[in-house]
Symmetry: C2
Subunit: 326 residues, 2 copies
Amino acid sequence: MTRPSEHDLIARYFAPVAGEGGLSLKDDAALISPRPGYDLVLTVDALVAGVHFFPDDPAGSIAVKSLGVNLSDLAAKGADPVGFLLALALPSNWTEEWLEAFASKLGAVARTARCPLLGGDTVRAASGLTISITAIGEVPKGQMVRRTTARPGDRICVTGTIGDAALGLALRGNPDWSSALSAEARHFLADRYLHPQPRNAVAASLRDHAHAAMDVSDGLAGDLAKLVGTAGLGAVIETDLVPLSPAARAALARDPSLLDAILTGGDDYEVLCTVAEEELALFLRSSDRAGVSVSVIGTVTEDPSPPVFRQAGGEQRYGVGSFSHF
Amino acid sequence: MTRPSEHDLIARYFAPVAGEGGLSLKDDAALISPRPGYDLVLTVDALVAGVHFFPDDPAGSIAVKSLGVNLSDLAAKGADPVGFLLALALPSNWTEEWLEAFASKLGAVARTARCPLLGGDTVRAASGLTISITAIGEVPKGQMVRRTTARPGDRICVTGTIGDAALGLALRGNPDWSSALSAEARHFLADRYLHPQPRNAVAASLRDHAHAAMDVSDGLAGDLAKLVGTAGLGAVIETDLVPLSPAARAALARDPSLLDAILTGGDDYEVLCTVAEEELALFLRSSDRAGVSVSVIGTVTEDPSPPVFRQAGGEQRYGVGSFSHF
């Protein structure tokens, strides 16, 4: 079997995904002419087969996740996407079918997010597929939303729903509680694990109203501990206010011990932020207008211990590192 | 053995390498405030254990090569370094000693090149070490030196010396010709393979005087074929004018068949460029002032066949893809 050279592979599969700054992927570098009055925000996330996804996940799903996790970082920083660079280490058994499906879905996500491919590198992997994406976004000068700038008294908000992806991953082991779910609910949870939906629509609302933000990739509890911890602060969360999908509620009703997995499991790719009390109504209205659901789940405190999750009958603390992809 | 968390590892080893835009690596993204009147140039290169370097190469050497190959791309585009992002996939047997040596040398190269670490991601590798670096550079608006813009009649120039790295790699197999070399010459060639010396000092001269440029990473012959090929042009090279180090000359004197390896072997990390005849003297003076040796080795032609390498007794053509890391 003859396979295309790196040059042919780029021309065939990746050039169609490229934006203007990618120079048709015929040069050795990408070119960005930054808009006057804007800062650039850069983030890199690497995804490894067997660590961040299953090697036999569909190629298109791997593409959605690879770009999605980076778009999610931009969203949380209040940045609008400009483009991305892709370093792709392919295992020796790659096929053109795989690559076509990967590139095609990558292109679809890139177009939807207005985040074109600007450049990349394709190499042979040591063994498993490894995808490293650097995403570039822009914010009006000085308006990147930091992780480190929460203030005591800020209300803590989170987009979408929490824990679906962790349950979707757990479903692969056919746990007892899965029998309590409809086929539709199981599909929903599995899809939330496979296909992150980055919240780029909320970026402008965050810039306008949030004190601090980060995306939830390593679990709500652990990431909240990082968010307030870097500011030397703490948090109190009302566990009942943490937004759950109907599918997650059904699973939790069958097996209440799933609460830990919901609060500490990874791959939510929602935005966690802190907003001053007096900005809260404006933030909620703005994010609602942007089509992103936001829940208020707690408050930033001056107590630098790990955040407290309160519920009827007690409370629970989870530290940083309750979940990690590393 | 307890090992540091990703958070501790970043704080301990990588925060000291970080520049201002890296926000002490305490945020989820890097921040760049582009200088008015400048474009940004971005490039990504991934290096994989067993493909681009030997897994037991010294950690410091792997660091030098990882950042060096990206700095080399910036140099060839006429861009001055701004900073870089690092995605590091560590094999399960990583040690703190290894990481300390890697980060320390990475920091030394970054400081010398004025190219600080801006952000990164550390993940578990599928098996072997994989390092993906995205480097960002700046050029005055509109002055990035393209790969695609060579013109017929341009003189073809190359920095430094060619073929040393390919011979340094070949030395590891203890070839017959190695006995003709002094210990010093062997060390020189091995070092040229391990430690690329990116030609960032020549970036401004390229901006001012070159029509087209790229760095030589996949062999002079193959990269020249790409450079002129993307412009629909060809080239004639006087093989005797290709600059060789004394060590490479000694090896070639012992085994004349090494010429192919010298002209097609990878990892030179020199800059290949085309310069109009009337700019040539200015370019040579400017690069000399910058401390970078430049040799004029041939001429761009209108014949779109693969470049011709002429020497006493005949000529040779090498196509694109005569060498590839992929």
